[in-house]
Symmetry: C2
Subunit: 229 residues, 2 copies
């Protein structure tokens, strides 16, 4: 699901025409998420957001009771975006190859899975046990979907777990290190990773289709969406 849609849904507002003269709850929420991603939760200050939005704090306190309400809305957006995308890809119709490639798409398209948001939320949870529990639950849901995917294609329980962990942890590690590689380089690793995870060869035709699909999508998200973090 598109993030802006989610933001508006969480804000309980209908999607309206752009170029509004006044702000909506969703506008504040969007800016706050942007701030969270770029500078961490402690940078999400009402004063600062008001400056960026070109209004005073008076506006904020009309849309939200207080800062806490904003934070809760932000968490709602996260909960309903990244995890849902992973699970959807892992349970996609088709062969194991189809599903793995769907997951690779997920890893590559920030509209489906935004690693910056994911890690910003994880950092946010530092020192907050309740939030950590929420995140752990989401991780468990993602892992369960991945384990089920491998298990459904012939891997025994323990093997499915190890493969799911390798698959998921490797990708999270990649994000955690904030690696910055051009898309072409990432694409060149796809076949090798696929074989590592599945012990099968990746069908060359499928790989070609995948490349084309990703490049077509890339047009949509624009050129430089590689996170500066």
């Amino acid at each position: 699901m598109k993030k802006r849609q989610l933001i508006e849904r969480v804000s309980k507002e209908a999607e309206e025409d752009h170029a509004q003269p006044r702000l909506t709850r969703a506008d504040w929420l969007e800016k706050a998420l942007e701030m969270l991603i770029q500078n961490g939760i402690d940078a999400v200050r009402i004063t600062r957001l008001a400056d960026l939005l070109g209004v005073t704090r008076g506006s904020f306190y009309w849309h939200f009771a207080d800062r806490n309400e904003l934070l809760e809305a932000m968490l709602d957006v996260w909960q309903q975006s990244n995890t849902a995308s992973v699970i959807q890809a892992a349970t996609a119709p088709g062969t194991l190859q189809d599903r793995i490639l769907a997951l690779f798409i997920c890893w590559l398209d920030p509209e489906l899975f935004d690693p910056r948001l994911d890690f910003a939320v994880r950092d946010w949870a530092r020192g907050d046990a309740a939030l950590q529990a929420v995140i752990a639950q989401s991780d468990q849901q993602r892992m369960d979907a991945l384990i089920a995917m491998f298990a459904a294609h012939g891997f025994a329980e323990r093997q499915a777990i190890i493969r799911a962990r390798n698959f998921y942890y490797t990708q999270m590690g990649y994000y955690a290190l904030n690696v910055r590689e051009p898309l072409s380089v990432r694409l060149s690793y796809v076949a090798t990773y696929f074989e590592t995870y599945t012990d099968e060869k990746l069908d060359p035709q499928a790989e070609a289709d995948f490349r084309q699909k990703v490049i077509a999508r890339k047009e949509l998200w624009g050129d430089e969406r590689i996170p500066a973090r």
Copy 2:
């Protein structure tokens, strides 16, 4: 290298008797690192540290010029602890098996590699390009050591890179997700992971020795060093 030693070295102070009536630069630094790990860089406030140390801020401004000097000292400690441990393990004498196991020890012993510090520093770098560059350099050094390790034991260039990435990213992903497992569970995965990374069987005797070694070390770091993050 032990972290407290490093802290004192960075503070340019000799190790003294405990139970000092007055504080040293190292005491402030240690508390600040603790705060960074538990609550992030934005929680590293002079006022708060002073409260925790039971003194007023007057003490701080005797030991440090300003907050910035403290932050630089904290970064020095990180630079000289985690990365050094990884490189040392990866270049340890012996077979590939010896080195991999040395790295596993690293992953398990927070005195050698403290993942909480590592990720706290990564989070700190959010929105700070200069700091990101420092971290990227450390990551590169670690990766180079791992690639060289695999290459030195017969893996071709590309294979060595993929294996090093899998090895390192998987572990970083594990830490990033803040997984909390008992030591016994982690130990039970060692052999399987070893085989995944090397395509060799882990010598049962070596595995037994490893278990014993880790458990002996565990006595040293105490029981509950599993990060609450």
